[in-house]
């Protein structure tokens, strides 16, 4: 029996003017699995991630979240049309996004950041949202920082709050866009260990990363992107351990030596 993937990407293309960043990318992410995307900068991995929740509008191709088309839908005459923003926003709640730059809202406390979307987007009562927010902060081990402002936290703590904020919208999958790339090495581990725990809990995740050891340990599948195409994909021991493609070997050699 064919199980519906949590996220299905079909022949996704994206141009910025004449520049073709994604040239037809297809893959599935099954519920509870972790997919890591690796590749050199400019290979299109961040753009791909941003297309999935429509922070970038794909030029063509389809994205399905639990079988539901994201961003586009066919009208009565079968023509593909961009969904209105209100529908895109509804779909976005199904995807929690964590950014390289954390992007916490500095005028709100840590708890304020986490409960904002549950209250304003999910329509929860404040009491429910606070209970959920505290639970999410506990998952990232920051319960004691709930009343602080983001400016008072370290980079690693800010990124963990950002993870809690994304978890609080109760998404079907989490998207991580280089979550440790702007952190000092000693702060990277605390973020990766939280992500490891999420993966262990069965959270569906797509992770754009340069942390090869993490990708190897946590991922079910690894995609290697090159020039807007998936050059190689497979289980981590294959892609990271014995890559078939020459480009992937070259790319990895920079990380392993």
């Amino acid at each position: 029996m064919d199980v519906m993937p949590a996220i299905r990407v079909v022949d996704l293309r994206k141009n910025f003017g004449a520049l073709e960043v994604l040239k037809g990318v297809s893959f599935d992410v099954h519920t509870g699995s972790v997919v890591s995307m690796i590749g050199a900068s400019g290979s299109g991995k961040s753009t791909l991630l941003r297309c999935i929740n429509f922070l970038e509008t794909p030029s063509s191709g389809d994205i399905f979240i639990d079988g539901e088309p994201m961003g586009f839908r066919s009208d009565a005459s079968g023509q593909r049309r961009l969904r209105p923003l209100s529908e895109v926003n509804l779909m976005r709640r199904e995807l929690g996004m964590v950014f390289q730059q954390f992007n916490l809202w500095p005028h709100m406390t840590v708890l304020g950041n986490v409960i904002e979307a549950p209250i304003r987007v999910r329509g929860m009562s404040r009491k429910q949202a606070v209970a959920l927010g505290e639970e999410c902060l506990a998952r990232v081990h920051l319960s004691e920082k709930a009343r602080e402002y983001p400016a008072r936290l370290s980079g690693g703590q800010q990124q963990r709050v950002a993870i809690a904020r994304a978890l609080a919208i109760q998404p079907k999958a989490m998207l991580f866009d280089e979550p440790t790339s702007s952190l000092d090495p000693e702060l990277t581990d605390e973020v990766l260990s939280v992500m490891r725990e999420l993966a262990g809990d069965g959270t569906t995740m797509i992770v754009v990363t340069h942390e090869m050891a993490f990708a190897r340990e946590v991922s079910d599948r690894v995609l290697f992107l090159h020039n807007g195409l998936i050059e190689e994909e497979g289980p981590p021991e294959q892609v990271l351990g014995a890559p078939k493609s020459e480009r992937c070997r070259q790319f990895l050699s920079k990380y392993l030596h």
Partner: protein
């Protein structure tokens, strides 16, 4: 010391008329409050046009800002009160008159909306785009993002600059006596007409304006500092 000096610092006449003068000062406060509201609302609208993605909106916003920021407030008050009703009246074929208070509020409100638009715009553009993307990624709609994510940060960032503009606006309310709004300066002129002692009355008015502006502006700066600075590391 000359007589003229002592005359100008003897504020007993000013004090004697304190009730009339205080009523005048309240008019300054009313004009200030109303025109500040107009300036903030119109200024925010113009700023949102200025940062709009499509150029016709940006263009309208720019014209608004340049038109009003470069119009002297003195001329605008006179123009709105005397010329605007003639133009509008000619358009609709009826005699029109605008109440001096309303003219003052429109003129000052629009002139200062030009300044506030630029302050808002700078504040909006200083918000990292990532903050907006994070909100979008959570499924927040644009209006909600403006209200909950952008404006609260913009207000904190623009407050010091805005206080300076509020001070200028309050000072500008002293010219509304030109079109017979009974503000402090207007009342001072009335008292001078009967008492014939301009020196102490003008000095008193100057000191009153100074004291009001100084204490209110300093108070606002002090009280808002902690609240504003929470967002900075």
């Amino acid at each position: 010391m000359s007589d003229a000096f002592w005359q100008s610092v003897d504020l007993s006449t000013f004090w004697e008329y304190r009730q009339v003068l205080l009523a005048g000062l309240w008019f300054n406060v009313y004009v200030f409050a109303c025109s500040a509201t107009v300036a903030l609302a119109v200024g925010l609208a113009a700023a949102l046009l200025r940062v709009n993605r499509s150029w016709p909106f940006r263009w309208i916003g720019t014209v608004h800002v340049e038109l009003f920021r470069n119009a002297p407030d003195y001329i605008m008050v006179v123009w709105v009160h005397f010329v605007l009703p003639l133009l509008l009246g000619a358009l609709i074929g009826r005699r029109l008159e605008i109440h001096p208070f309303v003219s003052a509020v429109i003129a000052l409100g629009f002139v200062y909306s030009g300044y506030f638009a630029e302050t808002f715009r700078a504040g909006i553009q200083a918000i990292p785009v990532g903050h907006v993307e994070a909100a979008r990624a959570c499924g927040m709609a644009d209006r909600l993002i403006l209200r909950r994510i952008i404006l609260p940060q913009v207000v904190r960032r623009m407050l010091p600059e805005a206080v300076n503009q509020f001070v200028s606006l309050f000072k500008a309310t002293t010219i509304v006596s030109l079109i017979a709004v009974p503000d402090l300066m207007y009342q001072v002129s009335m008292v001078i007409a009967t008492e014939m002692r301009p020196l102490p009355l003008y000095t008193g008015a100057a000191l009153t304006y100074f004291a009001v502006i100084y204490f209110v502006a300093t108070g606002v700066r002090l009280l808002s500092e902690r609240w504003r600075n929470k967002i900075y590391a």
